[in-house]
């Protein structure tokens, strides 16, 4: 909800392009986070991921399959996708990696070395 209202307040950007926030899932493992965002119709060329301050912004521009003919039933939304997330300070922003497969964008956000859970030996 927060990201949706923030997008609407972005006055100058909204005039040129319409965006929709795609569904996402976050899972946490011991050494990092995995973020999955669904963006059907988006391939590597249409993806734009940037990190600024503590926020990661993922923009996906769709490439539509060219179909000749009249549209007789329409359910899809033509808008492009945009979603921002606030990064946990334990994430090492330089080591973030991403891959896209069949419209699913998977980001791996590793935690910085010093915050990983580690055992402390008792002397």
């Amino acid at each position: 909800m927060n990201t949706l209202t923030r997008e609407n307040r972005d006055g100058d950007r909204m005039q040129t392009e319409q965006f929709v926030a795609p569904p996402a899932s976050v899972t946490e493992a011991g050494d990092g986070y995995t973020l999955e965002v669904e963006m059907p119709g988006v391939n590597k060329d249409g993806l734009d991921i940037s990190v600024e301050n503590n926020e990661i912004m993922i923009v996906g521009r769709r490439s539509f399959p060219v179909v000749e003919g009249t549209l007789i039933h329409h359910e899809s939304h033509p808008e492009n996708f945009r979603r921002t997330f606030e990064l946990d300070p334990s994430i090492d922003a330089n080591k973030i990696s991403a891959r896209v497969e069949q419209g699913l964008v998977t980001l791996t956000l590793p935690k910085a070395e010093h915050v990983k859970p580690r055992k402390i030996a008792v002397s």
């Binding site: 946490e28 490439s63 000749e68 009249t70 069949q102």
Partner: protein, 154 residues
């Protein structure tokens, strides 16, 4: 804290309920039209997965385009029966859940089914489909006798 939406798997493929979910989806999209850019996706959070389907028609083919991100093509089933095209399948969780905590899950994981009545007869033997960038495109060539023909006036 885990936040996982529970969906009993045996409820999803019941096709009689699909008719009502299509009606509800149509009513939802009708009311959402002026606000589509802000509220487009949030309304679908707890209603299961009904992937968006577009249908096109030209002189030679009927083409169905379905948004199915994050699936493997082996998990997609396409069938044709009595002039109705049905696309169903199941999306599994990619990551093995071995001690991972799911902090927030908005993606639907489970099975889906979409059916649509085709406008004309198609040649079932010549149907082809491609799955690229999460979009499934099914091309159904029209049966010969329903293609538009020119009739000469002698």
């Amino acid at each position: 804290m885990t936040l996982i939406r529970y969906q009993a798997p045996e409820l999803a493929p019941w096709s009689a309920a699909d008719r009502w979910s299509n009606l509800r989806d149509e009513l939802n999209s009708f009311f959402e039209l002026p606000f589509r850019s802000s509220f487009g996706r949030t309304g679908q959070l707890f209603t299961g997965w009904s992937p968006a389907l577009d249908l096109y028609q030209n002189n030679d083919n009927v083409v169905a385009v379905v948004e199915l991100p994050g699936m493997r093509k082996e998990d997609i089933e396409i069938s044709l029966h009595d002039g109705t095209l049905t696309i169903n399948g199941e999306r599994r969780r990619e990551s093995s859940s071995n001690g991972e905590k799911a902090d927030r899950t908005e993606r639907y994981v489970g099975s889906f089914r979409r059916s649509i009545a085709l406008p004309t007869r198609v040649d079932a033997g010549k149907v082809s489909a491609t799955y690229r960038d999460g979009i499934l495109t099914v091309t159904l060539p029209k049966a010969e006798e329903v293609k538009p023909k020119q009739i000469q006036v002698s």
